[in-house]
């Protein structure tokens, strides 16, 4: 990490930086900037040949599965509710679709990249 004094037109600015070359963080005047190599960006929702796979955004516990395989869902419908840090976070359908598979159980602790629901 570093605390850098950058000069512009004779005026001094303080920028705080930290992290690696692939994932660099900076703080300046109350704002945070993060620059990452493209493949490090998180994808909470990925497309696999026309199918949508939804993952948990963070380590969490599945508290409710609101849909079943084969069910038609509309954009914005709650599919799964996960709980982290005592707050419930609904995972909603990104588009009108059909539920292809449910890959988690209620009560299960899931990691961020774990596929929870598959839509098509």
């Amino acid at each position: 990490m570093a605390i850098l004094k950058i000069e512009r037109d004779g005026r001094q600015f303080t920028v705080y930086v930290a992290g690696s070359a692939d994932d660099t963080w900076a703080f300046f005047d109350g704002q945070v900037y993060r620059q990452r190599a493209p493949d490090e960006a998180p994808t909470h929702r990925r497309s696999k040949g026309g199918r949508h796979v939804l993952t948990s955004p963070m380590p969490a516990t599945v508290v409710k599965i609101a849909v079943a395989p084969g069910q038609a869902v509309r954009r914005g419908d709650t599919l799964v509710v996960v709980e982290a840090m005592k707050m419930e976070l609904p995972i909603r359908a990104p588009a009108d679709a059909t539920v292809k598979a449910i890959n988690c159980r209620e009560g299960e602790l899931v990691q961020p990249d774990r596929e929870l629901v598959e839509l098509e």
Partner: protein, 506 residues
Amino acid sequence: MIRRLLIANRGEIALRVIRACREMGIESVAIYSDADRRSPHVGAADRSVHIGPAPATDSYLSISRIVDAAAASGADAIHPGYGFLSENAAFAAACERAGIVFVGPPSAVIAQMGSKVAARKLMQNAGVPVVPGDTPYDQTDESIAAVVARVGFPALVKASAGGGGKGMKRIEDPSQSLEAIQSARREAQAAFGDGTLYVECAIDKPRHVEVQVFADNHDHVVHLFERECSVQRRHQKVIEESPSCVVTPRLRSRMTDAAVQAARACGYRNAGTVEFLVDVSGGRGTERFYFLEMNTRLQVEHPVTEQVTGLDMVRAQLLVASGEPLPWLSPSITQRGHAIEARIYAEDPSHGFLPQAGRLLLYRGPRMPGVRIDAGVEEGGEVSVHYDPLLAKVIATATTRDEAIARLSCALREFPILGVRTNIPFVLRILDHPKFRAGDVDTRFLDTEGASLAQDPDGEIPDVVREAIAVHRDSLESPSGSLNGEPQTANREFRDPWDHLRSWRS
């Protein structure tokens, strides 16, 4: 007098209590889970006891483990902090049975106030106004939905055992009733182990104003004025201040009288907070206020009150728990200047406020006059997903509200936290909002304005930031740089000349 105090908590509040112990010559005992072995509160205490694995249910929420830890470490008292077991009557009762002083009210008072339904009844009988509503005897979804329909929309379903907005849902129209009731019950069951719900009518544009009370065993009950906490996101407070800009001297005297009356009615002891909703829609002079709930513990936002009264509330808690009279009584307690607190959370406002986890690559609290930081983390530390994402509280104190806001804003602009996203940019945008500046904010402010305030403005990365990132990346790649790979700990490389001097000497 208490000789050795176990703090049944973690993070900033554990540190706050440990410091009060040190000033008073009381030995402090920290407890920690597997996730907190290296946390600051463990390092700060005189002794520490490991109490279990990371999940709170097996550690900070385990009554038996904590009472055993107190006995094993020879502690004669337990301070519960806030959250976790602080408002758990069974925990207070377990302490009482074990002959350990519980720093808080008697377990019976916690139980009574912990049942929001029982608290409403008690306050009604004591002549304190309550929000119109009803408690369904039949707790089935259908029966609660029927009560919601009778109370009218918008309505709130709330957990009888609740607090902090957990197990509480707002219902705008009948189509939302069932999902809201089920979700509220699940949250209530998970957070409090009790899914009982009640229904209140939602007051239009209410302001959240609470009164700090304090009672001892010598028949003294005092108030320490009000705090306003209307800036809330999903019922979690974000900004708190004292005094409230809508509370006139006349309203203040009515509200503080009601709060003292409420504390007397329930036989209260130690520090507590009486929360009210204030309806100012009728204009000055016609304000109405309603009892919301009583919090039977020290509040997260207690520093705001400490700043405007100049009193040490944790010290008073420990004195009162030891059986001493309150160290200060009414005429001498005054409210001076203005204090405002922002809660800094590890969360990403621009992505739905998702709680963040990770290592604090860089963390430097601002040091400036009139700014107090109560923090529970330090640089190099790990923020885990297991607990509340509160990192620090920043409290600015000044002569007027405007000056206090300017001071807080200045402090947050000089509070670099890197490695996890925080809500600092979001809080800065709230502080700049014309409605907030004008004091024209009710508890729904963030429901309506929050979404736009949460988004980082699209725009170019400032020039100076680009340059700084480039310089940093160069230093990572250059063989002379001390950082080849991931920076793991603090104090590796600084560009500041003074820091270079330090590293030459070491």
